[in-house]
């Protein structure tokens, strides 16, 4: 595990209110689960969010799994905190919890 990669990830997730690590881009997702994660974020009222395409960088792709100790992508971070992957985002959205978590940064 490279410390440099971990520091880069830490800087990204703490430097942006909402970050989605995904396969592809919000415009062109390369995986159905990443596409769903983008749709859930948009449905939650987030106008813009930072995204990182893990397919561009194998070190980030592995590094983000180590960072959160979470084996899959997509991964959502809000205010520097790991929230979860696609299933968890869907459950939280359906319960209204994701919208609550995003309150106040929707305008960001």
């Amino acid at each position: 595990m490279s410390d440099d990669i971990q520091q880069r990830i830490h800087a990204t997730v703490t430097g942006n209110p909402v970050v989605l690590y995904m396969k592809g881009t919000p415009q062109f997702p390369q995986c159905g689960f990443s596409a769903t994660a983008v749709q859930i974020l948009k449905a939650s009222g987030v106008a813009s969010f930072a995204s990182v395409n893990v397919l561009d960088d194998p070190e980030i792709r592995q590094g983000i799994k180590d960072y959160a100790n979470w084996p899959t992508i997509p991964q959502l971070y809000i205010r520097g905190e790991f929230v979860g992957g696609c299933d968890i985002m869907r459950e939280m959205y359906q319960a209204g919890e994701l919208q609550k978590l995003l309150e106040g940064i929707i305008e960001a």
């Binding site: 995986c31 899959t72 929230v83 979860g84 299933d87």
Partner: protein, 89 residues
Amino acid sequence: MSDSPTVALLKERLAVLQPLQVDIVDDSHRHAGHAGAREGGHYQVTIVAAAFSGKNTLARHRLVHEAVGDLKRSGIHALVIHARAPEEV
């Protein structure tokens, strides 16, 4: 119908959670052809276990990921998890 080798392995690994119920659906055919499908199949797991009581979704999924472990690297591309405590069923 008998389980596919991967489904049987999944059930074997999930047994450590002492589940009251495990249902596994193989969705691989719905994803044939897309890039990730080369890494392995798509599965949906519905699991009921006392181990999930009082834990949030994130913690429940971590338990399932830990149990499934290395299977994520061989034969499984995606795992959709529905983890319920007995009192929620």
